[in-house]
Amino acid sequence: MFVDTETLDTLNNFSKNKYKYGFVTEIDSDKPKKGLDEDTVKFISLKKKEPKWMLDWRLNSFSKWKEMKEPQWANLSFPKIDYQDIYYYSAPKGFDKKPKDLSEVDPKLIETYNKLGIPLEEQKVLAGVAVDVVFDSVSVATTYKGELEKLGIIFCSIGEAVQKHPDLVKKYLGSVIPPGDHSFSALNSAVFTDGSFVYIPKNVKCPMELSTYFRINSEDTGQFERTLIIADEGSYVSYLEGCTAPRRDSNQLHAANVELIALKDAEIKYSTVQNWYPGDEEGKGGIYNFVTKRGLCAGENSKISWTQVETGSAITWKYPSCILKGDNSIGEFYSVAITNNYQQADTGTKMTHIGKNTKSKIISKGISLGHSQNTYRGDVSFSKKADKARNYTQCDSLLVGNKCGAHTVPYIESKNNTAIIEHEASTSKINEDQLYYCRQRGLNHEEAVSLIVNGFCKQVLQELPMEFAVEAQKLVSISLEGSVG
């Protein structure tokens, strides 16, 4: 009984744990009217000074979206999204003319980043991180551009890429996630405002981790990011994405699309730390995060690796997937998902093996606390041509308290008799013996649980690049703080 009451106490304490990054910067926003129709799409396209082909592409996506319904199969429940009650474009005012350097940037914005611990000035000095910061929807500043340009690497906002590199964008945009794939991808294709564009030329190893910090700031503004990363033959890139959002009461919609394309012998590593505002203790507010992430291993020997730490958002709907088309290509997925209070997460991956000798590995760790629901949903399929393909999947869940749920829903499909699939999963609570051992050595309950959970996630956390590893470990501890320890 001793442990039980203690667990209850700590669970209660947890609810007092407030969101650390809940502050709002007051900057005037330049918004169109609420709601979504063709005019909104045209307005966004006009604001971004896009060529006609881009507008046509958007309008085509919009007409597809009108016909579609939201996917229903996820284990999530949330009120119906009113798409007409959302602003689809919000750019900090005065940004029609881009600032030449940091001194022209709104000082309040800089302050926001400082609060978040990403001082832009220092970033320039700090080893190897170029940041393409997205504040609400427009790129604010891009650092390290010159150095990357020397190598021929293009790292800019997608809006800029549409202007400057239309051929690349035309060729690859929507090639991995077709706008008509499902309703969120169609929506994003119609109204995306900004995001990153990366192109790594042949045989270039990107010398630094490319990184973008997203931040939702304006109330009721959905963020529709579009990221496109192309790694040409023999190249390598590691991309970091991190998000924190200020405290807000009404739900905010976030439907990003991320497309990765790895050509022959190329490798892309994509890491995410997601910490959007999860809603308060009663489950009020929080971000709706409907993300479509998909990578295509187009060429032989290519590799795409997804690593994610998901601690935020009221609703997470996210399945970073790999299409292993090239022979000998490799797909990896490492995930930690922590849900608290009334958060709901339905996340996982999809590995589609098409080429010969393709390999994939999935490691997923889910931790549920409070009243949350945490689902792993994964699809591994071997097509007829995927000779000697291999998959290994491991998904473990940890439950803390009996009001939450942990679910595992894997879909495993094989059409090839030389391919091998292995899948294992387990669900349990924190081992009493481990807890006892830690407590015996003088750790309090909270510390002990934190230590065990960090160990539980270690397999995934160690896949993160150095720049993220510290932040991710902190996040895991913060997410558990006061709840279980």
Binding site: G401, N402, H407, T408, I412, S414, I420, H423, A425, T427
Partner: protein, 408 residues
């Protein structure tokens, strides 16, 4: 003929068609078919199924003279021959058997599990034309063998079997489905295992090519009840084995094991669903399959743990071996857990026979074909050796040898 037409044409011939309340319930079920409630893409009961065959078929059934027999063997065991879903009424101090009669009409729609969103169970409710009840009386130790037969070609049998195992009894039931007739046999079996009872259920299937067997079993376990199910599918025709277990009271346990041996263009759909709704229960779901030629199989396993069901242990395992390049296997081992003090896991593998093992055997002078057979039989050897009943063991062994001989 589509389902609506079948129903309207044969309305008078179904079981309990004389009761207006049953008819109302049937009409409710019928709406499921008419408004296409079944999402053909995502409904598990329809996946990998020849829809044409079951959405449109010719209905044929006669309430003819009962040819069923029940007899006691020398060793005290019972042999029951059930023909077209009917049995011979029988009663002694150990068991009681009777065909579904007016008295049972109340039970008919009074079943919480009818809301499983399962196409074939709904079809069974709608077109029910036969069935029987077996009661195993208190504290008895009984062995029963049931041979399920269909007497005429192209019969469509929709039967429901209720088996009640009373407190403290121990039952060994062997269910045989071996039929050479072209037919559709849709069986919905409901087993209730009372307190302290122990039930071993062995199901052996070997039907001919044009015989479709749709077997849905549903077990309700009371306190300290124990239910073991072993399914062996050697059929050439379509077989669907869906099982639902409800662990209603504490300390009950179920062990569900299935084996399917497929060849040619055969299809087998399997599902096990265990619902833990009480504390301290255990469940195990393990299916193994061998797929040759262009055969197809699906296996859905599901462990559902309610928030009150602490101290649950639930395990799942699925293993598939694909012997040919056209074989197809889909598995979906699902865990839905709402309680924290649980130990649940699942494992699933699909792959070919280990090449290293074949190489090892071949380097010792064994032909490739013999090596494959040896490794296939070793794949299920462990479970076969655990069969206690000699009769079952010999039967399975014989069928397995026949299956292996067809591997080229």
């Amino acid at each position: 003929m589509n389902i609506q037409d079948i129903y309207n044409l044969n309305k008078k011939n179904f079981l309990y068609s004389q009761y207006s309340d049953v008819e109302n319930d049937r009409n409710n079920v019928l709406t499921n078919f008419s408004i296409n409630k079944f999402d053909k893409k995502n409904n598990e009961s329809l996946r990998n199924t020849d829809l044409k065959k079951f959405f449109e078929f010719d209905y044929k059934y006669n309430h003819q003279e009962n040819q069923s027999i029940t007899r006691i063997n020398k060793d005290g065991s019972y042999s029951i021959v059930s023909v077209n879903g009917k049995c011979e009424n029988y009663d002694d101090e150990q068991i009681q058997i009777h065909n579904l009669s007016e008295l049972d009409s109340k039970d008919y729609f009074n079943n919480e599990l009818l809301n499983t969103d399962d196409f074939f169970i709904d079809l069974n409710s709608l077109l029910l034309n036969s069935g029987f009840k077996i009661k195993i009386k208190k504290n008895k130790n009984v062995k029963i063998k049931i041979s399920n037969l269909i007497s005429e070609k192209n019969f469509t049998v929709f039967q429901r079997n209720y088996i009640l195992c009373e407190e403290g009894s121990s039952v060994e039931l062997i269910d045989e489905y071996e039929d050479k007739n072209d037919a559709i046999n849709n069986v919905y079996k409901i087993l209730q295992i009372e307190k302290n009872a122990n039930f071993n259920h062995t199901i052996v299937q070997e039907n001919s090519f044009n015989h479709s067997l749709i077997l849905s079993t549903h077990t309700i376990c009371k306190e300290r009840a124990n239910y073991n199910q072993h399914v062996y599918n050697f059929s050439e025709g379509y077989v669907r084995n869906f099982h639902f277990s409800d662990l209603k009271e504490t300390n009950s346990q179920v062990d569900l094991q299935g084996f399917f041996f497929l060849r040619n263009s055969n299809t087998s759909n399997n599902k096990t669903f265990v619902r833990h709704s009480s504390e301290d229960c255990k469940s195990n779901q393990a299916y193994k399959g061998i797929l040759n030629d262009s055969s197809k199989a699906t296996y859905f396993s599901n462990t559902h743990v309610d928030s009150v069901a602490q101290k649950t242990e639930g395990y799942q395992l699925s293993k598939g071996i694909l012997l040919s390049k056209d074989a197809y296997f889909f598995s979906k081992p699902e865990l839905k857990i709402y309680a924290d003090d649980v130990k649940c896991s699942h494992g699933s593998t699909i792959g070919p026979i280990d090449e290293n093992a074949i190489f090892y055997l071949r380097s010792r002078g064994i032909s490739k074909n013999a090596a494959i057979k040896m490794l296939v039989s070793s794949f299920i050897n462990e479970e076969l050796n655990s069969i206690v009943n000699d009769y079952v063991f010999e039967m399975i062994e014989k069928k397995l040898i026949r299956y292996l001989s067809e591997i080229k």
